[in-house]
């Protein structure tokens, strides 16, 4: 990328919190703009672009229209970065996938449920090739900057594979288990600097599971700290329903 890379930002099914978090780079926004040209960003500007070097995409895929649009984005983008839990894992949206889809529709539409088409909430990677992930709900700002500077430098961003506990311990936080709470940190990917335990809240798992998680072991931990088996899996599912579904027996 010789000249300034052209960047486009898109949103699919999600809360747009990740995009907002980009607008929240008050201290770095001008530096970021110095390195790239933003050519399309519906939430913040008018205009469309036909081609771009990097597409940042927020949100999960949940309608036929989404699927069509993501293919188009992929075609036009050299590098596609999934932004946030919805785009990377399906996010909170995927909780609906754990209920039979008919039940979901009935809950919302009652007898009119067959009027409305819907798909399970899917991560981008289930439909197109995703080059890099910026995880988190909302996407983690420090990680976004890492991926961003890496792309500007032309190097591959690397994703952490260790658990949130590692970062939590580096900060010498009191483990929230010590406060009689539960926490998903042991099986969740680091990169957020253990944001939630650092302020006394348990890690709800927004950054996705570590590779090869021992989920049975995690279930045992949660149950030994007072959750029912069902509740334990529900907590694990909050952001990771698409991954956990396969494992839960």
């Amino acid at each position: 990328m010789a000249d300034k890379p052209r960047v486009a930002i898109f949103d699919f099914t999600g809360c747009e919190g990740c995009e907002l978090n980009q607008l929240n780079f008050e201290d770095q926004l001008l530096d970021i703009l110095a390195h790239v040209d933003i050519v399309e960003w519906r939430e913040a500007m008018d205009g469309h672009a036909d081609e771009y070097d990097i597409a940042f995409v927020e949100g999960s895929l949940s309608t036929p229209d989404c699927i069509q649009r993501i293919h188009e984005v992929r075609r036009k983008a050299k590098v596609l970065v999934a932004l946030g839990a919805c785009a990377v894992q399906g996010g909170v949206n995927a909780v609906k996938n754990t209920h039979p889809i008919d039940e979901v529709r009935e809950e919302v539409y009652g007898q009119d449920k067959y009027l409305f088409p819907t798909l399970p909430a899917l991560p981008l990677s289930s439909v197109v090739k995703v080059d890099y992930n910026v995880r988190g709900c909302p996407m983690t700002q420090i990680e976004f900057l890492k991926v961003f500077t890496s792309l500007v430098m032309g190097k591959e961003p690397v994703e952490p594979e260790h658990s949130v506990c590692v970062e939590c311990k580096l900060k010498e936080n009191e483990c929230v288990f010590e406060r009689g709470m539960i926490c998903l940190g042991p099986v969740i990917r680091a990169g957020c600097d253990a944001q939630c335990p650092s302020v006394g809240q348990y890690c709800t798992g927004c950054r996705g599971l570590v590779p090869e998680p021992n989920l049975e072991g995690m279930e045992e931990i949660l149950v030994s700290h007072g959750l029912s088996v069902d509740e334990a899996w529900k907590r694990l599912e909050l952001y990771n329903a698409n991954e956990v579904e396969g494992v839960r027996s």
Binding site: D31, H35, H162, C165, K169, L170, P186, P213, N214, G217
Partner: protein, 340 residues
């Protein structure tokens, strides 16, 4: 050795006296029921009666995250980061944590002596305090007594109403100059009992480990272990690290930083191409325990575990290193012991 007496309500006075001479670091209450070593700002906030601090004082000599060098991307140059000497009094250290510092001294000094650690380590003065073993301590089983004064400049032994104060080095004696303390006449009280034990004398552990490479305990433990790495990160004798370059947003420079790492983590031994040299949690757990009880121990004759109990206390899955060792001891002695 001259023994002096410090009343409980004069501890803050002693801390204030020490603060006049050097900066003082001491345990402070942190969170709901934890303790952490921090620089003392208010002498009355220093705590002497605590089970264990979350991180041992290793964090001052080998910080959790540390910049090794900074670099300039435009000029393609680098310069080494400052590593100032600690030059402070560490007040209220438990004997096992000082034992752990000595082990780190060995690791960073033998082979290639590392400036970062050794420079930071300079000027450190240690004031120890005895402790009452809780349900996790087992340092008695690895040869470190709660009253062990080895390496301390001053040691405080807890009595009901105060502390016996002993200056053990000339530095320690100097620090006590100018504070009036009465002599302590009676001897030291008997120390509290450990609730946790390894069921075999330390000297025989080497033999136990020799036959333990293939043992079911590793697989059994791996079923419960979630590989979060906490046991490595809290261990006062763990010294592994990883290194990563950070680049600023302007993309003009950055720093090469290191942070604590742990052999329980999957990516610790992963290389490009996807090969992971210790693929399973069982192999990783074994490596951790062997690092504490065999590998360096064969070289030095000392266990590299100091019995602080942190890894057990912090393990959310409830895995106990004492139970693992005792399972191995049991198999070695052919007797049944507690399950892990």
């Amino acid at each position: 050795m001259v023994q002096l007496f410090l009343e409980s309500d004069r501890v803050a006075e002693l801390v204030a006296h020490l603060m006049k001479q050097k900066s003082v670091f001491a345990p402070h209450a942190k969170g709901r029921k934890s303790f952490a070593f921090e620089e003392v700002k208010d002498p009355s906030a220093a705590v002497l009666d605590y089970p264990r601090v979350m991180h041992s004082i290793r964090k001052f000599f080998f910080p959790p995250q540390e910049t090794l060098m900074t670099f300039d991307l435009k000029e393609n140059t680098c310069s080494v980061a400052e590593t100032p000497a600690a030059d402070a009094i560490f007040f209220g250290v438990h004997s096992y944590d000082l034992g752990a510092v000595h082990r780190l001294d060995y690791n960073f000094s033998e082979g290639n002596p590392e400036k970062n650690y050794i420079a930071r380590r300079q000027g450190a003065v240690f004031v120890g305090v005895s402790y009452k073993p809780d349900e996790f301590h087992f340092s008695g089983s690895v040869g470190i007594d709660p009253y062990d004064t080895a390496g301390f400049d001053i040691f405080l032994t807890k009595l009901l109403d105060g502390y016996i104060v002993e200056a053990l080095t000339p530095v320690g004696e100097g620090l006590l100059d100018g504070i009036e303390l009465p002599a302590h006449e009676a001897g030291k009280p008997a120390r509290g009992h450990f609730q946790q034990h390894i069921y075999l004398p330390q000297a025989k552990l080497g033999q136990v480990m020799d036959g333990s490479y293939q043992n079911e305990v590793w697989d059994d433990t791996a079923k419960k272990c979630v590989g979060c790495g906490t046991c490595n990160l809290v261990c006062p004798t763990c010294y592994c690290f990883t290194v990563e370059d950070e680049v600023n947003v302007q993309v003009t420079g950055g720093s090469r930083d290191r942070r604590w790492d742990g052999c329980m983590l999957r990516d610790f031994s992963a290389v490009a191409g996807g090969e992971v040299f210790r693929e399973t949690l069982a192999e990783r757990q074994r490596h951790r325990v062997f690092r504490k009880f065999k590998y360096i121990s064969d070289e030095t004759g000392q266990p590299w575990c100091v019995g602080c109990g942190r890894c057990t206390a912090c393990c959310t899955a409830g895995i106990s290193i004492v139970n693992i060792i005792n399972r191995l001891v049991g198999d070695y002695e052919k007797v049944a012991v507690t399950p892990i």
